[in-house]
């Protein structure tokens, strides 16, 4: 069901953990839906993401997309990271089963949530936080 790349990133996730002195932290998803991604970043004065780590509660695809997303934005500028799409994450993983595409959306949103947190701290206005997209069947929100 999963590609070799997905299995590799699931079995050997890159950048798992926390950053003690992170200046950007974002969390998306909820336990009822079955996946939560939390992303920590260390962004320097040049707006380069020097370090990024994640913690994820979720399925194999959720862990693999988190891992891949961190790989794709590490060392990039904030502006570059904001251009990361869920499609790019899916492609980098050699595809995901249809019912798992939402995991890649969550990964994109986790990156944006962390950067939103960074902007908030800096007093920079933004429009990065989206509401739940209603991708899962168990969410108690009405869509």
């Amino acid at each position: 069901m999963y590609s070799e790349k997905v299995m590799d990133h699931f079995a050997h996730p890159r950048n798992v953990g926390e950053i003690e002195d992170a200046n950007a932290v974002g969390e998306v998803g909820n336990a009822v839906c079955g996946d939560i991604m939390k992303m920590y970043m260390k962004i320097n004065d040049d707006q380069v993401i020097e370090d990024v780590k994640f913690k994820t509660f979720g399925c194999g695809a959720a862990i693999a997309t988190s891992s891949m997303a961190t790989e794709l934005i590490k060392g990039k500028t904030v502006d570059e990271a904001l251009k990361l799409t869920n499609k790019a994450v899916v492609e980098a993983l050699d595809g995901l089963p249809p019912q798992k595409i939402h995991c890649s959306v969550l990964a994109e949103e986790a990156v944006k949530a962390a950067i939103a947190n960074y902007y908030d701290k800096k007093g920079i206005k933004h429009d990065l936080l989206k509401d739940c997209d209603g991708h899962c069947a168990t969410c108690q929100k009405q869509h």
Binding site: V16, A31, G34, K55, T56, F57, A137
Partner: protein, 395 residues
Amino acid sequence: MEDRFVYADNAATTKTSPEVLQAMLPYFGEGYGNPSSLHQKGREAKKAITEAREKIAMLLGDKPNEIYFTSCGSESDNWAIKGAAHAWSGRGKHIVSTKIEHHAVLHSLEALEKEGFEVTYLDVDGDGRVTPEQVAAAVRDDTILVECMFANNEVGTIEPIKELTAAVKAKNPKTLVFTDAVQAVGNIPVNVADLGVDMLALSGHKIHTPKGIGVLYIKTGVRILNLVDGGGQERGKRGGTENVAYIVGLAKALETAVGGLDENRRVAAMRDRLIDGILEKIPYARLNGPREGRLPGNVNISFEFIEGESLLLLLDMAGICASTGSACSSTSLEPSHVLVSIGVPVELAHGSLRLSISRDTTDEDVDYILEKLPPIVQRLRDMSPLYEEVKKNQK
């Protein structure tokens, strides 16, 4: 402990046993006759299925002409429910069932609801059980059918089918009682005469035959619509040339299973060792389903802060095959309706693990699971933002 392969998903399917395969093999070769043929090849095949039918009837406590061979448990479920509903719709359109049935039952009932039948889905308690009183209370004058599974496939709860049947018949003698006994047969004693049910479904591949054979028991005098009109096989109710090899295999499998019911005490002891061992070694875990009145091979435990599909993938890498009620492992992205019905919070349903063992399981397999599972759960917890908060609160 050395790496090994442990198959702990016997509620999904079992490994075909060597003796079943041996019994079947002649009918893939020289025993190719059509049981309806009058010549020697036909007679040979006819003899094989007649003997198989007699053996199965004896083991289930019914008469040979009450056994109808089908292709699987789902077919038996569909036939019993739709066949009875359509045969008796003139008398009433009300059916009683429970919220924790197999999808073959639930989706059959939903199809009937679209046709105008009314279905009452009974709640179960925290152990997954219905009471005979509860079922009887739901039965009305226009209730034509009561369906309740004999044992639950996810949490292993054994339902009081005998008492339930008696209670239903006392309330309305005309109401038919059907039990989906797919998970029960071979694992606990099942005797249809003793139970008093009108219909019972079973499946071969849960008791060590290959996939592709099931039975619907229909008590003499109980009328349901024909499933397949054809050449008169299965007393005209389910036409189609008989699946001779599989019928022979099923008889062999049932003989071994029923003859080995004592073996289930050993399986139940391994189950209890697994449950106790897991709950002792892993904090923030809870058993789903009852301690007593549980299938001998069923273990279902939820782990907080982690998700079941990733747990299954890691167990698979360690050589252990298991199952989960997590939404993330289903295409519908909905968590197990059974776990939700017994009151397991959705978050914990996501983190559920079902280990279903069988007589093929060994003590070494149990040791291996108990060794491999705790560090795998811990590994996922260390990755989980939910566990992070717990650890911080502990400090």
